[in-house]
Symmetry: C2
Subunit: 208 residues, 2 copies
């Protein structure tokens, strides 16, 4: 019915475990491609172009934006980060499902450019659990953790614009459910306008 | 996250195999209750009250409608048919998922009364296959089959108001996908307003 892949945007509270979720999803099922971001920041030791990021200069990045070649982009600490459209398009056209792990401003830019994108939001079972996970990392100051909690309040405001919540309580369960939600999106009415039009046309031809 | 059951309305082209699909879904998974319709038509030999239908007189049925006790109803060949709200509500409240197999006018009445209802539409892979299945039954005249095809044209117009298409090509696959779609609906953002509000509240309490 639908051979083009599904573009899925995964966002979530910082500390919800979305990085781990995405990594496990991609390693367990072979139909997913992870989108590679483009950035103007300098490569860190060991980072290879086209693997962790596409590294590009500022002028070229700005030209890409102007030419509509970026699905989404943002500036962060003086550098551009974004998602080049071409790779995503190629993957989708070849029938692969593409995963984009980005924050909500980017997610809404993507949804605007590609309304068929599926927006998923990862959350722990409760805010207390979120705080517990953030503290459990032992890598951040209490001030940084408080910053993340304030950010979570902001994110909780806009979560209504996502389609599904991924409740990350047990990771394996969450990975399986995420996979099912993405695969079943292929059957959503809004993503099957072409199939529905085809059936309508055929019915008219066969009616007499 | 969501303990209340999901109410699923299943409609579909006549000949799409929705009866078989619903029967198999209910026998394979034990979380589903099939809603029992109410009717004013006389019981046929072997039909037991509360099993195939709730049998009721015309006056009582009309009183039920007036008192808002019916989720949906229609008149067909001089008899009322409809879905009593109470049984559905009881099942949902106890955490069971309820399946309603009804046509589209009923489906939209249900959606209006219970916006959280999940609307699924069963279709064969093509209109040709639909016609082939209708003819393969060998129980109807060519004129009756043509009537069903005209009806299908009508249904194809309103399929946009459903959420998912169930492509009934291979029955076992379709049963499994239907189950997944219903179970995953529990994670849709629109069905989790209470959980989202709870997280928002907790985040505010924990932020300092």
């Amino acid at each position: 019915m639908k051979e083009r892949g599904i573009l899925t945007v995964i966002s979530g509270f910082s500390g919800a475990g979305k990085g781990t979720l995405v990594k496990k999803l991609i390693s367990e099922y072979d139909n997913y491609s992870l989108s590679i971001s483009m950035t103007t920041r300098a490569p860190r030791p060991g980072e290879e172009n086209g693997v962790s990021y596409f590294f590009i200069d500022r002028e070229s990045f700005e030209r890409n934006i102007e030419n509509g070649l970026m699905l989404e982009h943002a500036e962060y600490q003086g550098n551009y980060y974004g998602t080049p459209k071409e790779y995503v398009e190629q993957q989708l056209a070849s029938g692969r499902d593409v995963i984009l792990e980005i924050e909500y401003l980017g997610a809404f830019q993507v949804k605007k450019m590609m309304p068929e994108a599926l927006l998923l939001f990862v959350t722990p079972p409760s805010a207390e659990e979120l705080l517990r996970r953030l503290r459990g990392r032992n890598t951040e100051t209490e001030e940084q953790i408080r910053g993340r909690m304030r950010r979570a309040i902001e994110e909780a405001v806009i979560v209504d614009r996502y389609e599904y919540i991924l409740l990350n309580d047990d990771l394996d369960t969450c990975v399986r459910e995420t996979h099912e939600i993405i695969q079943n999106a292929k059957y959503s009415v809004s993503r099957n306008a072409a199939f529905i039009d085809q059936i309508r046309k055929e019915l008219h031809e066969l009616k007499d």
